[in-house]
């Protein structure tokens, strides 16, 4: 039995099974071998390629595309994965339009870049579905490293450390490894349990133990970890969320919780969604929440952002994706209050304007009715161990990934430097691992 899209309130099962399948199918279906060949042939093999420069993980893009073109996608995958062990997920979730594809000279030439992300997925899928793990461990060093957080930064760090011959234990607060890949990104970007499969593939290298349901502070301290390990890498991401501080804030829930619940649902028909959904915020999380609410059968979903649409942290590509899926984007509206009424809620916004670089609220008021309200107004660092320097809400690290604490490194969203992207986290985890290795081996 399905519930109509028009039934007021928050309910599961608004769609038929078939409709859920269609709605949450792969948003960017994989390239066929023929499509990959055609796409690869467009690469100009640029010198000191701008796509590689634009990649936070420095993937040698022209080389891997040439390897696809010459019929060796497995070699292409190795080129990718040697720089970015989560190259499969990055191929799916990277904002390529602002990174490699944005820098592609064919974007400049024709407004149509080489499909680097799709080609990367073609190559990595080929290798990973064959079950091959092409990396092996160096001779054992006898050193042990603790990695806190099994997200992109922690996994990349753990893999590189294992490759260098160290014994790694990954401690993660959740019940499954993967971090944002498993709990955070939109379901249609990596359907079919890809995040879990990728972690399982990554762990094939050996030498990595994953300890779930272990939270720093709750289950142990950095000092505890250092007692049993030669080094610690902190990659626990951003555990907290910014809270609304308006009357009625308690009626809103964090979009991250909604997304995580949806991602972990065995059956999407069990995930309740409002008839009218309002998401407060303007980043990728807001887009992921609003689009998925719409895909779950919400009649309307609105993203309400306090600044102009051009200032939204979500990329143009993401915004377009939201609008294509029927999400309404309401810019220049700041939340003022949420009121409960007999039909649900009413969110009151003040119209805003930027004057002399400052956002000011106007007298004009906008009211939007809602059955379900999500906040996506930024994530924050959770509790952190003492002794670390926190700058702008992030653990400060140097170029090598070292924190202010001896024997403690950090990377990913919890650490300073770079954008909060999977690919950046992978690069930071990888580079910290190399520095840990150099440090431990006395180089």
């Amino acid at each position: 039995m399905t519930t109509s899209q028009y039934r007021p309130g928050v309910h599961p099962g608004r769609l038929s099974d078939a409709e859920y399948c269609t709605a949450f199918a792969d948003v960017a279906p994989p390239l066929s071998p023929h499509q990959a060949q055609v796409a690869a042939a467009r690469c100009y093999f640029c010198a000191e390629a701008p796509c590689t420069t634009a990649c936070p993980s420095d993937i040698d893009v022209p080389l891997f595309i040439r390897q696809i073109l010459t019929g060796t996608p497995e070699a292409a995958a190795q080129t990718i994965l040697s720089q970015n062990i989560l190259g499969g997920m990055c191929a799916r979730v990277c904002p390529t339009e602002t990174l490699c594809e944005g820098a592609c000279v064919r974007e400049a030439a024709e407004g149509k870049p080489v499909e680097i992300g799709a080609l990367q997925r073609f190559a990595t899928d080929r290798l990973q579905t064959s079950g091959v793990h092409p990396f092996t461990r160096a001779a054992r060093t006898g050193k042990a490293v603790a990695v806190v957080g099994a997200g992109p930064a922690g996994l990349a760090c753990a893999h590189r450390l294992a490759m260098r011959g160290h014994e790694v234990t990954v401690y993660d607060a959740r019940l499954k490894p993967g971090g944002l890949n498993e709990y955070g990104i939109a379901a249609y970007k990596a359907p079919g349990g890809f995040a879990a499969r990728e972690v399982a593939w990554l762990l094939q290298i050996g030498g990595i133990a994953v300890l779930e349901n272990w939270q720093l502070g709750r289950n142990g301290s950095v000092a505890d970890l250092l007692a049993d390990h030669d080094a610690v890498f902190l990659g626990m991401g951003l555990a907290g969320v910014n809270a609304l501080t308006i009357p009625g804030a308690e009626f809103a829930t964090p979009a991250t919780e909604f997304i995580a619940h949806l991602r972990q649902a065995e059956d999407l028909a069990t995930v309740p969604v409002g008839r009218r959904v309002v998401v407060i915020g303007g980043g990728m999380t807001a887009v992921d929440a609003a689009v998925q609410a719409k895909l779950l059968g919400a009649e309307t979903a609105s993203i309400v952002y306090r600044r102009s649409q051009a200032e939204m942290p979500a990329s143009g590509h993401e915004q377009e994706h939201a609008q294509k899926n029927g999400v309404r984007i309401v810019p220049n509206a700041a939340p003022v209050a949420i009121r409960k009424d007999d039909q649900g809620y009413e969110v009151e916004f003040a119209r805003t304007e930027t004057r002399d670089g400052k956002l000011v609220q106007l007298d004009d008021t906008l009211r939007i009715k809602a059955d379900q309200i999500f906040t996506a107004i930024g994530q924050t660092l959770g509790p952190v161990p003492e002794g670390l320097t926190i700058t702008d809400g992030k653990i400060e690290i140097d170029a090598r990934g070292r924190t202010g604490l001896s024997h403690v490194w950090a990377g990913g969203d919890c650490a300073s430097g770079g954008e909060d992207l999977t690919v950046t986290a992978v690069a930071q985890g990888r580079d910290a691992a190399e520095d840990i290795h150099a440090f431990l081996m006395g180089a």
Binding site: A41, R42, A47, E48, L69
Partner: protein, 433 residues
């Protein structure tokens, strides 16, 4: 509008675009389709001796090389001459010629090197009222092993001998089709002329192995685990063919001998490029085997537009026009100086010009941190490599005027001086002017 009609050895055709003797001209059904599509003429696929028909392989007979986007660049075949009975071909030729009197229909022939064989087949061809014959002295595979095709074309005395027989025993115009699988194309062309040929056509296909199966370790196309060289044609052979056409056109011994140009003609531009160094018309095969007969419409409109733009009214105004411009290296002006010039507004900053110059040439193009590429004129020898690798054609060669300072030599550009009188030439014989 330009007049595209062509008269070649007295054979009239509505345009200079003929189909070469090859699979597309093996049967009446194909040739009728070609004429309906607008082709000016055809050379019927090579006929052989009367008797048991030729036998072809029953496995793959073509192989090819492709550009990275899948464009077919070169085609290789191991097909023999027609494998249909002689009398069927002759009957069809007669039928087609009767229905298309305004189109050129030439018959390609290949029989053993004895006078009686040639005499016999010529008499049969004359009965069809075809416009002429083309002697296939070029096929490099299969028939050559039996002493025909390229086996004849590679021996100038045989070329001359057979041509003479043909002229003795037939009133039909005689075109001798030359093989490129020789060291100097002028020699067999001269032999053909001595034998009385009315024209030469070239090039036939080039000995080739297009690819090797890396699992079977055998050439492709592979026939039951083995392969043999075939004949190579298509866009990739055009430069080789153009040179050979020009060599015959400018050779004093063969100057004025009509030429039918063959070898990778794919577009109207290719056709015009063959005509300028001396071809009177062109023959096409690979292009129609890649795209079908319809391409002739573009060839007709393209050549016509080009001639209109140039103020030319007859195709013969193009023929041979580039012959005086083909010379020997020793006569090139060594003081002619150009420098690469990059149109920055069209540059997409791929850096290919920079890297090929840096890695393989003269370190004359720098790339800045913002990827702007700049020519260092003091290093640029004007090799043209950057022009050829640029994907957006934004690099040109700027000609330095006489007296302008060449930053590479730190000397002003001098007036005309060729190698024959160059001070560095110990064998200099002239003033070089």
């Amino acid at each position: 509008m330009a007049n595209l009609t062509s008269t070649f050895l007295g054979i009239k055709s509505p345009n200079p675009f003929w189909l070469a003797s090859a699979p597309p001209t093996d049967k009446e059904v194909n040739v009728r389709r070609a004429f309906e599509a607008g082709w000016g003429g055809v050379v019927w696929k090579t006929l052989g001796l009367d008797g048991p028909p030729v036998v072809n392989v029953s496995g793959p007979r073509y192989g090819a090389i492709h550009g990275p986007d899948g464009t077919l660049l070169g085609l290789n075949n191991i097909e023999l001459i027609t494998d249909r009975p002689l009398e069927v071909n002759l009957r069809e030729i007669k039928s087609v010629k009767r229905d298309y009197p305004d189109r050129a229909l030439v018959v390609s022939l290949m029989v053993p090197c004895d006078e009686d064989s040639w005499k016999a087949i010529l008499a049969r061809v004359e009965e069809t009222e075809a416009d002429g014959v083309e002697l296939n002295f070029g096929c490099p595979h299969g028939m050559a092993e039996r002493g025909m095709g390229a086996a004849v074309g590679q021996v100038p005395d045989y070329v001359e001998m057979v041509t003479r027989w043909v002229k003795q025993h037939s009133r039909m115009p005689c075109i001798v089709k030359l093989t490129p699988n020789i060291s100097d194309i002028r020699i067999p062309a001269e032999a053909a002329k001595r034998g009385g040929a009315d024209a030469v056509s070239l090039i036939n296909t080039i000995n080739s192995i297009t690819s090797v199966d890396l699992d079977l370790f055998a050439p492709q196309p592979t026939i039951d685990g083995f392969g043999t060289h075939g004949g190579y044609c298509g866009p990739a052979v055009k430069p080789i063919a153009l040179n050979m056409v020009a060599e015959i056109a400018r050779n004093p011994a063969t100057r004025g001998l009509p030429i039918s140009g063959i070898g990778g003609v794919t577009t109207w531009r290719d056709a015009a490029e063959f005509m300028a160094p001396g071809a009177h018309n062109v023959q096409v095969c690979t292009a129609v085997m890649t795209y079908g007969f319809k391409i002739v419409e573009e060839m007709i409109s393209g050549l016509s537009d080009y001639m209109d733009r140039k103020g030319l009214t007859e195709t013969r105004e193009i023929v041979g026009r580039a012959v005086p411009k083909v010379t020997d290296w020793q006569y090139l002006n060594l003081n002619y100086t150009t420098k690469a010039s990059i149109a920055q507004e069209d540059c997409i900053k791929c850096g290919r010009c920079h890297i090929v110059c840096e890695d393989t040439s003269h370190q004359a193009i720098t790339m800045a941190a913002d990827r702007t590429v700049t020519v260092k004129e003091e290093e640029c020898v004007a090799c043209n490599l950057c022009v050829e690798v640029c994907p957006t054609n934004c690099i040109t060669m700027r000609e330095l005027s006489e007296g302008e300072l060449d930053l590479r030599t730190a000397k002003p550009v001098g007036d005309y001086l060729n190698w024959t009188g160059h001070p560095n030439n110990p064998m200099a014989t002239t003033s070089g002017k």
